[in-house]
Structures are given as C-alpha cells and as structure tokens.
Amino acid sequence: MEEKKTQKTKRDLYLIVGLFVILGGIFIYFQFFKTQQEASRAHIYYGSTSDPIVTIDFQKQQVTVNHIQSVPNQYDNVYPLIDENQHTVTLLGDYEINGVRQIVVITYDFGLRTVQITEEQSPNNICSREGVSNGKPLICLPNRVRVEFETNTEFDFIT
C-alpha cells in the first residue's frame, strides 16, 4: 500500500515535470513566433459572425466599413461610426444599461499598428482594461465585440 503510494507520487512528479517541459516549450515557441509578426490589418467583429464589420488596414492607412450594424430604430446613429480625426470606430454593443445598449469605442493607431478598446460599458469595464494591442485579440464578451489582427508572416510573398 505504501509502496503503491510512493510509486504514484513518483509518477505524479514525472508527469508534472514532463508536462511543464512540453507545454512550456510550446508556450515559449508561440510567444517567440508572435513577437516576430507585424500586424497588417485589424478586423473588428460584432456578434458571432466570421465576417468583420470594420477593417483597419495599417499598411494602406485606411478604415473600411464592411457592413452596417442593424440596430433598432430607437438608436439615432448609423453604426459603425468612424471618426478619422479621433481615429476611432464606434459600435453599438450588446451590453445594456436600463435596457439601452451601450456604445463601444475602439481607437486605432496606424503608425503604431495598434488598437485599443477605449470606451465601453461592461461589468467592471473589463473590456477597456485589456489595454493597447498590436496583435493580441481583444475580446469584449458582454458587448459581443472582438478585434482580431491579421499579420504579415515571413512566408507571405503574395502582396
């Protein structure tokens, strides 16, 4: 009984060390890989579609609206709203305060190739706490808004 127990504990240790090395290696590899890449475009998604609603192209330095959000009539504006002076994209999020959906403001920077969720309403404002990103996806679950980056990889010879 005691021997079985020490046998199991030994296996536990081998397992832990093995996993640590393997998963650690995978983690380091991906970290390295990610820092090698430069963002070419950022896509803003709303809802569950795989079709971005707005695309920010860092190389061409332009912002394109691919679709218009279908919002109920009670909301005055047409979303998404692009403000090229402020470098922001404003969407209507899903998060409601007193039944009113709240806006999500996303700021982009062509030069730095970054995107940040700067203004939004959500529990604890977790979305705007994600900070500035130059590659890490920004996910705002309560508003169902996400920002994903597209990168130039060294294997990309097609322009």
Binding site: M1, K4, K5, K8, T9, R11, D12, L13, L15, I16, L19, F20, L23, G24, I26, F27, Y29, F30, Q31, Y45, G47, S48, T49, S50, N124, I126, C127, E130, K136, P137, I139, C140, L141, R146, E148
Partner: protein, 161 residues
C-alpha cells in the same frame, strides 16, 4: 457536503472577482480543490454533482446564468471532473497527478466551450499560456487537496490517496 459546496462557491466567486486569467471569462479553477477533495473523500458521483451545482449556483449568484462565462465554466468543469474520475479509477497517478490532469482538462474544456460561445477560434490565441499555467494551478490545488485529506484523515478514518 453542503459545507464543501459553500466553500467551492465562495472560492469560485473570489477567483472571478480577482480576475486572474488572460482570457476573458476563463478561470484557473482554484475552486476545483473542493471537487478534488470530494472525489477522493466521497465518490465520483458526489464530486460531479457538487461541481455542477457549484457552477450553476455561481452562475445564479453572479448573475451570469446562461452567459458565455457560464458555459465556459460548465464545459471546463464537466470535462475536468470526468477525466479526473477516470484517472483516479486507473489508480496510476496520485492525487497530485490527477489534479494536474484535471486542471489541464479544465482549461481545455473552457477553451472548447469558449470557441462555441464566442463563435470564433480567436480564443486559441491564449491556449499555450493557459495550458502552461494550468500546471502550477493543478499542482497547488493538488497539494492543498492532499494536505487537507491527510489532515482530515488523522481526525477521521483512513482515506486512500
């Protein structure tokens, strides 16, 4: 048993409040220490029941029932407790090993559920870091579980761990 459930709920709520993880909505599962303890002290059925109840009650208490976090927790906990139950049955690993395996599958289950809930594979971006971090998390919960059971055991009857 109800006491354990209460502790599990509190641990889960505290963990949500601290918001430890890089992935929005995912948790490292420190509340799983209770699931682990129940698994070894009682039965697989008890552990499953407690784990599911915990997710449900936390969902209700945190007001996020049927939200994305709820489904992700559910997916993570369900997969984790099933795998832990199987691993324990094989008696190949000790409680530490089972805990670490449980922790990894907890994260895997959350990521899997997350893909469905978010509607995109974007969450996979965090998979390497989350899986890696789940190892120390599993070790910690395993050590706590092991210590708890051995303390309990010195007060009550022998438990095989």
């Amino acid at each position: 048993m109800a006491n354990f459930l209460a502790i599990a709920i509190v641990l889960n709520l505290i963990e949500s409040a601290i918001a430890l993880s890089p992935i929005p909505g995912a948790k490292l599962g420190f509340a799983n220490v209770v699931t682990l303890i129940i698994l070894y002290m009682y039965s697989f059925k008890d552990a499953t029941a407690l784990a599911l109840l915990r997710v449900l009650l936390v969902g209700v208490l945190a007001g996020r029932l049927l939200g994305p976090t709820f489904y992700m927790s559910l997916g993570g906990v369900a997969l984790s407790v099933i795998v832990m139950g199987l691993m324990k049955k094989t008696n190949f690993f000790g409680i530490l090993g089972v805990s670490v395996i449980g922790s990894i599958f907890h994260v895997a289950g959350q990521i899997g559920a997350g893909i469905f809930v978010i509607g995109s594979t974007v969450i996979l971006y965090w998979m390497p870091v989350m899986l890696f971090v789940s190892i120390p998390a599993g070790v910690i919960t395993g050590l706590i579980g092991k210590k708890f059971i051995s303390l309990w055991g010195t007060w009550h009857t022998e438990i095989n761990h």
